[in-house]
């Protein structure tokens, strides 16, 4: 999972969760505080009303010491029109004195007179609403044994709406803050991780075998250290490959020169004998004839040794780094003509017919390696096809959605059994394992080299039986676009 995505999502989730919990907590606390405030408000109003009532009671108008005037008093209920949401009733000894017009005529809290409390809160339903009610009781002088009860009520709905309004006003900034913070988190993290992202894209652009130092300006210390270490590593790899290549070149030279000497000396001996045979035929002894035969064997052995050394050196030098760096565009047709020309002596010796069927086609690859590939494939065709056989080489362009070039080598030889197809690419393996045909010179590295070159070029190789010639058919398929692309990126550096 991407670090950035992890960080952003985690921080965002944590932030949202905690803020949310805090908000809910705050909401709850605020609500209960609000309730208390509302209740306090009810008390204040009730007390105000009580005070008013008490003072008005002391005026003559309202003095009543005669119970016979009850009905009259009933007629003297004062109604107060009320703008606000409060409803109130003022009772004096079971008689309603004042009420607001949004209050009922009956005692809101029926049992209030029997209760012996000064402040009494409850929730009551009347007039189709639920109200928060306070009943404030004031006992008159013990002499009169009268009670004044002031009842003030506020709809719970109103209270709730008020509280909600307040709290939301407080909480909304927090929500906005969450959104803002999330955005900021995303931006900051992206920016912070940018050097890492740069490093990643730099590295992914490179070829697997590109060891040039990274050109990256990194501000933070951790990545700077990493880049430095990487560049050191690249340098070491580059040096190591260079060393290996030089070693291979030096080894090649040291091996090839003595081999040349051997060959020439053997040739000279053979030549001397040949001269002897032509000029002095009668004088040739049987010992000399045996010597001549030995020399012929010697020649073959030297050739064989040369072949093995060549193949081993070739196997060693077709490594990926050389190939990717050294790829060029060249005419495959021309290269094949050269290879056939080089091998023509051997082909003629076995009186074989060779055909090249191709038009000028261009391949983007490592020319030397492809040359080697062609030599090995055609040489194999020559070696394992009998005298008078046919070898056919063709190059075809396939222009489907993916352009590719197919190099095909077919022969009229004995072919290879399908079950051997995988094994013959193994090093030093020749068909038949230890029972291979030793009359044909070879060391089992040819197809290994070919496969190596094929792999490095990201191409594919297919073995099958030739329909027309009945022998082996080898097809090497180059993805033209891929080879092109790999080198184009190189050039852009």
């Amino acid at each position: 999972m991407s670090i950035r995505r992890y960080l952003v999502l985690t921080l965002f989730s944590v932030l949202t969760l905690i803020t949310f919990i805090a908000a809910i907590q705050g909401y709850k606390v605020s609500m209960s505080r609000a309730e208390k405030q509302f209740d306090q408000q009810l008390i204040d109003i009730a007390q105000t009303l009580l005070a008013v009532q008490r003072s008005s009671l002391q005026t003559p108008l309202f003095i009543n010491d005669n119970n016979s005037n009850i009905s009259n008093k009933a007629n003297q209920i004062t109604q107060v029109s009320q703008q606000g949401s409060f409803a109130f009733q003022v009772w004096n000894n079971n008689q309603l004195v004042i009420k607001s017009d949004n209050a009922p005529s009956h005692l809101i809290i029926p049992a209030i007179f029997s209760l012996d409390k000064n402040n009494y809160f409850s929730d009551v339903n009347f007039l189709d609403k639920r109200w928060r009610v306070i009943a404030l009781t004031h006992k008159n002088e013990p002499v009169n044994q009268t009670k004044i009860v002031v009842i003030v009520a506020q709809p719970l709905q109103t209270q709730f709406a008020l509280a909600q309004d307040l709290i939301l006003a407080a909480v909304t900034p927090m929500i906005v803050a969450i959104i803002l913070l999330s955005l900021l988190i995303y931006i900051i993290i992206t920016h912070g991780l940018k050097p890492l992202h740069q490093l990643r894209s730099e590295l992914s652009k490179r070829n697997t075998n590109d060891f040039t130092p990274l050109n990256l300006q990194v501000n933070n210390t951790e990545l700077a250290d990493i880049v430095v270490t990487l560049n050191q590593l690249f340098l070491r790899l580059d040096t190591a490959f260079l060393r290996e290549r030089h070693f291979a070149e030096d080894a090649a030279h040291e091996l090839k020169t003595p081999l040349s000497v051997l060959k020439i000396n053997v040739h000279n001996i053979a030549q001397d004998f040949a001269d002897r045979l032509t000029t002095d035929k009668a004088q040739v002894t049987s010992t000399e004839i045996r010597n001549i035969e030995s020399v012929i064997e010697l020649t073959q052995s030297v050739d064989r040794m040369g072949h093995v050394i060549d193949q081993i050196l070739n196997l060693n030098r077709t490594n990926t780094e050389q190939i990717v760096r050294g790829s060029t565009g060249f005419n495959l047709n021309l290269l094949l003509q050269q290879v056939i020309a080089e091998l023509y002596n051997d082909i003629m010796t076995k009186k074989q017919t060779i055909e090249l069927e191709s038009e000028d086609s261009y391949l983007f690859a490592h020319e030397f390696s492809i040359h080697l590939l062609a030599i090995n494939l055609i040489s194999n065709a020559n070696k394992y096809t009998p005298i008078g056989g046919i070898i056919k080489i063709s190059v075809k362009l396939i222009n489907e959605h993916d352009r590719s070039i197919v190099l095909c080598v077919e022969d009229s030889g004995m072919g290879i059994a399908p079950q051997e197809y995988t094994r013959i690419f193994d090093r030093f393996y020749r068909v038949g394992g230890d029972q291979h045909n030793s009359n044909v010179m070879g060391c089992g590295l040819g197809l290994t080299i070919v496969k190596h070159i094929v792999d490095v070029h990201d191409a594919t190789i297919k073995l099958s039986s030739s329909n027309s010639l009945k022998g082996l058919k080898v097809e090497v398929i180059f993805k033209d676009n891929h080879a092109l692309k790999a080198v184009k990126e190189q050039d852009n550096d």
């Binding site: 030279h253 090839k256 020169t257 000497v261 051997l262 020439i264 030549q271 003509q337 055909e355």
Partner: protein, 231 residues
């Protein structure tokens, strides 16, 4: 032909000398680049066989200095460096040919013979392959056929060819044993700017084949033409 052999590996040098001497060449040997340049300052050599891995300087430097003195002496490079870059570099520096060790001595001598003929230092101006004799100076082609009436004698019949046909035959015979592609033959026949008919070479070959012994000139389909060495 007098050859200057520049090679630091003594066993190889002595083996080569012996071999080339038996083929009729005169060989002088030096083992350092400086000595080679000294030797080349006098006109005693007809051509050079040059090894690239010399102890005192790179063989290519020797070649470069030689060419700078406007010497058109033929040079064959003999080296263990077989990469395409080295080959191209060698030919770019002015080498006439490039042979990679280990080589077949016959290959070397064949190329020496080609140079010999080109220089005109061959003992005769004749190129003989099989029954066909080509006289490069007299511009004549002679084919020997067995005399019907006198089996031990051979008749030499002179053939007539156009100038271009002669040049094609000469190119193929000079390079007997090596395949020449159509492009290579064309380049020997036509200079830049001269119009080449796309099948001009084929027409010439066809005409040549009509008069020459059958199978003398062989066609390798898709590759080119070859006259085989009779061994």
């Amino acid at each position: 032909m007098r050859i200057l052999l520049v090679e630091d590996d003594l066993p190889l040098a002595s083996a080569l000398q012996r071999s080339l001497k038996s083929e009729g060449f005169v060989v002088n040997h030096v083992n350092q680049g400086k000595l080679a340049l000294n030797a080349l300052s006098t006109p005693d050599q007809d051509m050079v066989i040059l090894d690239l891995g010399l102890p005192d300087m790179d063989g290519l430097d020797v070649l470069k200095q030689l060419r700078n003195h406007k010497s058109s002496l033929p040079v064959i490079i003999l080296t263990a460096r077989d990469s395409i870059e080295s080959k191209v570099k060698g030919l770019d520096y002015g080498a006439d040919d490039y042979l990679v060790k280990p080589f077949e001595i016959q290959e070397l001598t064949a190329r020496l013979r080609v140079i010999e003929r080109r220089l005109g230092t061959a003992n005769s101006s004749l190129i003989c392959v099989g029954q066909v004799k080509l006289d490069t100076f007299a511009h004549k082609v002679l084919v020997s056929e067995i005399n019907q009436s006198a089996p031990n004698k051979t008749n030499e019949i002179e053939l007539n060819f156009s100038k271009k046909e002669f040049m094609v035959l000469k190119a193929l015979m000079e390079n007997a044993g090596r395949i020449l592609s159509r492009g290579q033959i064309e380049s020997k026949l036509y200079h830049w700017g001269e119009e080449v008919l796309s099948n001009a070479v084929e027409v010439h070959i066809h005409k040549l084949r009509k008069s020459l012994p059958g199978k003398f000139i062989q066609n390798v389909r898709g590759v080119g033409y070859i006259i085989n060495n009779e061994n």
